[in-house]
């Protein structure tokens, strides 16, 4: 499991952070603070064959990305 904090970054930078690690890990926790980044990162991870669970608290989103 690797954790990435991409909060405070604007698109497409969060996606690039995720992209840099996704092929080396089976489980990734990704912190984001924008709804649009959540949607893009979720779609990207799913396209790579991962299951994505999104939880949110206050203005922070956490994506749990697991190899399906």
């Amino acid at each position: 499991m690797i954790k990435i904090d991409a909060s405070g970054l604007s698109c497409p930078e969060p996606l690039m952070r995720l992209k840099a690690v996704i092929d080396q890990h089976n489980e990734i926790e990704l912190a984001l603070d924008s709804q649009t980044a959540v949607e893009t990162c979720k779609r990207f991870a799913e396209s790579k064959g991962f299951d994505v669970t999104v939880t949110s608290a206050d203005d922070l989103f956490t994506l749990l990305i697991k190899k399906a």
Partner: protein, 344 residues
């Protein structure tokens, strides 16, 4: 002259028209402010048109518009040109001629004035190219650079180009390629090529004057320009309950690398906001998702969308092809459908 070549983008995370507030939020807010009624106000808030139009006499109306945003390129002189071309565009989209322009400036007071000078030089040159007069402005100290213009134009009241007067059977022509939002955002992160970036910059700093001066010789019914709400967002503003618009996605031109970026999910937040807002207004029929993203991509200083009679469309397209930026005939106006726009 010596140009300050320091980079502007340290100031901003989200430049150009991608920095627009979401369309849905704006509509809510605007619905709560007082409604003004004046019989000479020919175009106001209510139709989401490009600029306001006020009739002064039977043969003269003024067009008033304002646009400013943070940088989307790191060269201050280019930024000035692009921001000005973007602000001036609304006058052409309304069918008018540029007369007066005022600078709107936000700039950190501790920063180098030469950089601000370069922004204003670029902007001033574009106003001159538009045939207008730069006659003043207003500046405030701010931690983030922003620049734009308030522009006044004139138009004959019978020649106003409303954004929603398309006629069934019309063809829709787009005068600049799409993809500049994705390209400039990705370039900043080292993910788009210099060549694509150069194409985007060339497109953004090109005045819509040249395309409109050709278009106005033909039987055109409606016109708008493509900016932060993207191709589909602005096309949607042209639709009324009387008709729908069908788009042939294979005909849409874009900067080629935008497809690779879209396939790699290198999208802007603005593009996603556009997709969310337009979700139930657009139907895609077999259009690959990356191409959909290009159609949602926010454009800074994008091209004109022109609704032209079917008879005149081929000739107009041909004449527009003489310009530096290649136009494309992207769709047609049809009977009302279950969605405002159908993309196939």
């Amino acid at each position: 002259m010596d140009m300050d070549v320091r980079k502007l983008n340290k100031f901003t995370s989200c430049g150009g028209c991608t920095a627009k507030l979401p369309q849905g939020m704006l509509k809510d807010v605007i619905s709560k402010i007082p409604v003004f009624s004046d019989e000479n106000l020919l175009v106001g808030f209510d139709t989401s048109d490009d600029g306001a139009v006020y009739k002064l006499s039977d043969d003269l109306a003024i067009i008033q518009t304002l646009d400013f945003f943070p940088p989307m390129v790191d060269d201050p002189y280019l930024f000035g040109k692009i921001a000005a071309a973007n602000a001036l565009s609304d006058i052409y989209a309304m069918g008018g001629k540029v007369k007066l322009a005022l600078n709107i400036v936000c700039f950190p007071e501790e920063d180098d004035p030469a950089m601000l000078g370069a922004v204003l030089l670029g902007g001033g040159e574009k106003v001159m190219e538009a045939g207008g007069v730069l006659c003043g402005g207003h500046s405030i100290s701010d931690k983030e650079v922003k620049y734009g213009l308030s522009v006044t134009g004139v138009v004959h009241p019978d020649r106003i180009m409303y954004n929603n007067r398309c006629q069934i059977g019309d063809k829709i022509i787009l005068t600049k390629p799409l993809g500049v939002g994705m390209i400039t955002a990705a370039y900043r992160l080292g993910e788009a090529s210099q060549e694509s970036y150069n194409q985007a910059v060339r497109s953004m700093q090109t005045l819509n004057r040249y395309a409109f001066e050709i278009a106005e010789k033909y039987d055109i019914h409606s016109c708008t320009d493509v900016t932060g709400f993207g191709f589909l967002g602005h096309l949607n503003e042209m639709v009324t309950p009387r008709y729908s618009i069908a788009v042939d996605s294979a005909k849409v031109r874009y900067i080629p690398e935008a497809m690779r970026l879209a396939e790699s999910y290198l999208l802007t937040g603005g593009g996603q906001k556009n997709r969310n807002f337009l979700g139930n207004k657009v139907r895609f029929e077999g259009v690959p998702e990356p191409l959909q993203e290009i159609l949602f991509d926010p454009q800074t200083s994008g091209g004109l969308l022109i609704s032209v009679s079917e008879v005149d469309a081929p000739e107009l397209l041909k004449e527009l092809e003489s310009l530096e930026l290649t136009p494309c005939l992207v769709g047609e106006v049809r009977d009302p459908a279950d969605r405002n726009i159908v993309v196939y």
